[in-house]
C-alpha cells in the first residue's frame, strides 16, 4: 500500500507539487492523468527519491515504511519501482549485467540469498517471455540504441524481474505501437495481484482500456483536482482538460 499525504515538492525553490494526497491500496491500479507540465513525472521522481527535488512537506509511506527516510536505492529495495518516461542509456554495461547487479543488490537488502548465474538466467527467460522481449536486447548496453518502444518494454521487463510492491509507470504507453501496447498491458495485468499497487501515468484512455484502473486522478498544477472511476478517463478523452482547468483556475 502506497500512502502519499500532503506532499509538497519544489525544484530550485519553484514549487511543483502543491499538496498531493493519494492512497493506493494493495491490489489496486490507479491512473494519473493531467496536462503537460502539471507535475506527473515530478511526482514519480519524488517518490523514487530524485535528489533534484526537495520535499518541503508531507509524507510517503510504502507498506508503512517511511520512504522519505530512505535513499533512492533503498526505496527500490523496499519495493518501489518506477518505469521512466525517458530511460537513460548506460554505455558499456550490458542489460544482463545491470539487471543481475540490480536484483542481487535488492535481494541482499531484503536479506535473501543472491541468485547464481543459472537461477538468474532462468528468471530472465521466464520474465522475458512474459513481456515478449527479445532476449538479444539483453546482451546490449542498458537501453543502448534501443528504439523508443524497446526502451519501454525493457522497463516493464525490469519491473517483472524485480517484483516490486509499488509500481509507477510514467507514460510507458507513449511511443509504443499497437501490438507493443497490448504486450506491455498484458505484462502489467499478469503482475496485478493482492500484494502490489500500481500508479499508471498516461495521457491516453487507450492504455486504460487494456489496463483497467480502479481509480483515475487528474493532476493540474501540482494538485489532484478530480478523482473518479475509469469513466473519468473517457470523459477526459472527450472534453480534454479545459473544463477542469477552468474550474480550478482561481488557484493558479
Amino acid at each position: 500500500m502506497l500512502e502519499i499525504k500532503n506532499l509538497h515538492a519544489s525544484i530550485d525553490d519553484t514549487p511543483i507539487l502543491r499538496g498531493i494526497d493519494l492512497t493506493i491500496d494493495n491490489g489496486q491500479v490507479h491512473s494519473l492523468m493531467g496536462p503537460n507540465g502539471s507535475g506527473k513525472s515530478t511526482l514519480a521522481k519524488v517518490l523514487a527519491g530524485d535528489e533534484a527535488y526537495e520535499v518541503t512537506e508531507g509524507s510517503i509511506l510504502l507498506d508503512g515504511v517511511d520512504l522519505l527516510e530512505l535513499d533512492p536505492h533503498e526505496r527500490s529495495a523496499a519495493g518501489l519501482f518506477m518505469a521512466f518516461q525517458y530511460p537513460v542509456e548506460i554505455p558499456g554495461v550490458t542489460m544482463k549485467y545491470f539487471l543481475r547487479t540490480a536484483i542481487n543488490s535488492v535481494r541482499k537488502y531484503r536479506e535473501q540469498p543472491e541468485l547464481d548465474a543459472y537461477e538468474f538466467l532462468s528468471l530472465v527467460k521466464e520474465r522475458a517471455a512474459m513481456v515478449e522481449l527479445d532476449t538479444d536486447l539483453l546482451d546490449r548496453p542498458v537501453n543502448g540504441g534501443f528504439s523508443g518502444g524497446e526502451k519501454k518494454r525493457a522497463e516493464i521487463f525490469q519491473m517483472a524481474m524485480l517484483e516490486p510492491t509499488a509500481c509507477i509507470l510514467d507514460e510507458t504507453d507513449s511511443g509504443l505501437d499497437i501490438d507493443a501496447l497490448r504486450i506491455v498491458a498484458d505484462g502489467v495485468n499478469k503482475m496485478r495481484g493482492d500484494n502490489r499497487s500500481f500508479l499508471v501515468i498516461t495521457h491516453y484512455q487507450r492504455l486504460l482500456s487494456y489496463i483497467v484502473p480502479d481509480v483515475v486522478h487528474v493532476l493540474v498544477d501540482g494538485r489532484i483536482v478530480r478523482t473518479g472511476g475509469k469513466d473519468l478517463a473517457l470523459e477526459l478523452e472527450e472534453h480534454g482538460y479545459a473544463p477542469i482547468e477552468s474550474e480550478h483556475a482561481v488557484d493558479a
Partner: protein
C-alpha cells in the same frame, strides 16, 4: 604528527583520500641533492659497474646537459614551475645494501608489513599465484623469489644491477637499443643516473612458466626514481610481465623518470602490464608524483608480438607513451590503456605504433576517465612507413567525464607513407551523469556500486587484457580512486 613510526604508519594508512599512503621507516643511504659527474661516478662505483657503463652514463649526462626540458603543456588548473634537478637526490638505498636478503625470511619484517598494508602479502601472493616477485624497494632490489624454478627453464629474472654483474654481454648488447640514451630529455636523465630495475631474458623457445612481477615503491623523501627495465624474449619465447606500484603520501613533488625497453625476436611474445597508483597529490593539487616514463618495445623478428596494458590511476602528472616499433614482418603491437584522473591530476598518455615491416598490425584501445578537476589527454601516433605494405591499425579512443570541471582531450596523429595501409579510428565521449546514477539507484544499485559498475563496464576491454588477479586489483583501484566523485 608523532614520531613513532608505527603510529605514523597507521595515521597515514587511515588518511581518507589516500588509503594506501604510508611510509616505511628504513634507514636510507642517500647522497646529498644535486647532480654532476661526481654523483654519476658515485652511483656507478657504488654498483661496481664496468667502465663502459660508466662512460655510457656520462655520455648520456653530457648530452642531457645540452637538451631542453620539455615545456609544460597547458594545464589550466595547475601551474607547475620548472623542476629543480639540483634539488633532487639521485641515490638512495636501504642500508643493508651489502648483504641483501637471499629469501623472504631475511627480508626486513617492516617491509613485509608494508606490503601487507598494500594488500599484497608477498609470501602469500607468491605462493598462491605462483608469481615470482622482484621487489624494488626504493632503488635496490631486496627480495627475489622463484629464481630457481626460473633458472631451470633458463629464464633470467633479476635486478638490473645483478644483470650488469652476471650477464654483462646481454646488457651491453641491448641496453639503449630500443630507447637510445638521448631519445628524450627524461630518457637521457634516466640513462645517466638510473639506480636499478629489472632484467628479464627468456631464451629461445621458452614459455616463461609464471607471470613475472615487480612492485615499485618510492619511499625516501625527495629522491627521484630512475628505474631501468629491460626485457628480451628470444626466438619463439613468451613472457608476461606485471608491474605495479603505490607510493607513500608526501607533500614534496617527486620525479619519476623510468625507462622500459622490450625486445621481441622472431615469433616471440611479450605482454607487459602495469598498474600505476602513485600518490596523486591532494584536492588542491599539492604534492604528488611526476611520472615521465619512456616505454618502448621493438618487434625485431617476424611474427613477433608486443602488448602493453596499463591502468593509470596515480601521479599528479603522467606523461607516458608505451610504443611499438613493428620491424619484423607480420608483427603485432597492442596498447590497452585505462587512465583515470581525479582531483587535479593530469594524464597525457597514448602510444606510438611505427609500422616498418610488411603485414604488420597494431591495435589501440584507450579509455580515459576524468573526474574532479582532472584532465586526461590521449596522444597517439600511427605511422606507416614506405615499406610497410598491407599494414593495419585499429584505434579506439573513448573518454568518460564525471562532473563539470574535468576535461578530456584527444590528439591522434596518423602518418601514412604506403597506400596499401588500412587504418580505422573510432572515438567517443560519454558523460556519467546524475541521471544515469539515479537510474541505477532506482533499480536498487547504490551510488558507489553504480559508479564502479559503469566505470568497469567502460574499461572492460582493457581490464580483460590483464592477468586475473591483477584485474581484480585494478578494479579495486578504480573504485577507490573514484570514491566521492559522483553525487
Amino acid at each position: 604528527m608523532t614520531n613513532d613510526p608505527n603510529a605514523m604508519l597507521d595515521q597515514w594508512a587511515e588518511q581518507p583520500d589516500y588509503k594506501w599512503g604510508f611510509v616505511t621507516d628504513i634507514e636510507a643511504d642517500t647522497v646529498a641533492p644535486g647532480l654532476d659527474e661526481s654523483v654519476i661516478r658515485f652511483i656507478s662505483a657504488k654498483k661496481d659497474e664496468p667502465e663502459w657503463l660508466l662512460e655510457w652514463r656520462l655520455d648520456a649526462y653530457r648530452k642531457w646537459l645540452t637538451m631542453e626540458a620539455p615545456e609544460w603543456p597547458h594545464f589550466p588548473d595547475r601551474p607547475w614551475g620548472p623542476i629543480d634537478y639540483q634539488a633532487i637526490s639521485y641515490f638512495s638505498a636501504p642500508k643493508s645494501d651489502e648483504d641483501r636478503p637471499k629469501s623472504l625470511d631475511e627480508v626486513d619484517p617492516k617491509l613485509l608489513e608494508t606490503y601487507e598494508k598494500l594488500g599484497i602479502p608477498l609470501e602469500e601472493r607468491a605462493a598462491l599465484a605462483g608469481v615470482a616477485v622482484d621487489a624494488v624497494f626504493d632503488s635496490v632490489s631486496v627480495a627475489t623469489t622463484f629464481r630457481d624454478k626460473l633458472k631451470e627453464h633458463g629464464v633470467i629474472f633479476c635486478s638490473f644491477s645483478e644483470a650488469v654483474q652476471e650477464h654483462p654481454e646481454l646488457i651491453k648488447k641491448y641496453l639503449g637499443s630500443v630507447v637510445p640514451a638521448t631519445d628524450n630529455y627524461f630518457a637521457a636523465l634516466n640513462s645517466a643516473v638510473f639506480t636499478d630495475g629489472s632484467f628479464v631474458y627468456i631464451p629461445k623457445g621458452v614459455r616463461c612458466p609464471m607471470e613475472l612481477s615487480t612492485y615499485f615503491r618510492i619511499n625516501a623523501l625527495n629522491t627521484g626514481q630512475f628505474e631501468r627495465t629491460l626485457i628480451v624474449a628470444d626466438d619463439a619465447a613468451y613472457v608476461s610481465y606485471l608491474e605495479g606500484c603505490t607510493a607513500p603520501m608526501r607533500d614534496e613533488n617527486q620525479l619519476h623518470a623510468a625507462v622500459v625497453e622490450l625486445v621481441a625476436m622472431e615469433d616471440a611474445e611479450i605482454k607487459y602490464s602495469t598498474i600505476q597508483n602513485w600518490y596523486p597529490g591532494d584536492e588542491n593539487g599539492k604534492g604528488g608524483i611526476f611520472n615521465f616514463v619512456t616505454k618502448r618495445g621493438i618487434c625485431e623478428g617476424d611474427r613477433s608480438h608486443i602488448s602493453w596494458t596499463q591502468v593509470e590511476t596515480g601521479s599528479a602528472i603522467t606523461w607516458k607513451y608505451p610504443s611499438c616499433i613493428l620491424k619484423g614482418d607480420d608483427s603485432i603491437g597492442e596498447f590497452y590503456s585505462v587512465a583515470l584522473t581525479n582531483m587535479r591530476q593530469q594524464a597525457d598518455t597514448g602510444t606510438k605504433m611505427i609500422h616498418l615491416g610488411k603485414n604488420t598490425r597494431s591495435n589501440i584501445v584507450s579509455k580515459g576517465i576524468s573526474a574532479g578537476h582532472g584532465h586526461n589527454t590521449y596522444r597517439g601516433l600511427v605511422n606507416i612507413r614506405r615499406n610497410a605494405t598491407d599494414a593495419r591499425n585499429y584505434t579506439q579512443c573513448d573518454s568518460m567525464l564525471m562532473g563539470e570541471e574535468c576535461g578530456a582531450h584527444t590528439f591522434p596523429v596518423i602518418e601514412v607513407a604506403n597506400d596499401t595501409g588500412h587504418i580505422e579510428h573510432e572515438a567517443s565521449t560519454t558523460k556519467i551523469g546524475e541521471d544515469q546514477i539515479f537510474y541505477c539507484n532506482q533499480r536498487g544499485i547504490s551510488p558507489e556500486d553504480a559508479v564502479s559498475m559503469i566505470v568497469n563496464g567502460f574499461c572492460r576491454e582493457v581490464l580483460a587484457e590483464l592477468p586475473m588477479e591483477f584485474a581484480v586489483e585494478a578494479r579495486k583501484l578504480l573504485e577507490v580512486s573514484l570514491e566521492d566523485s559522483v553525487g
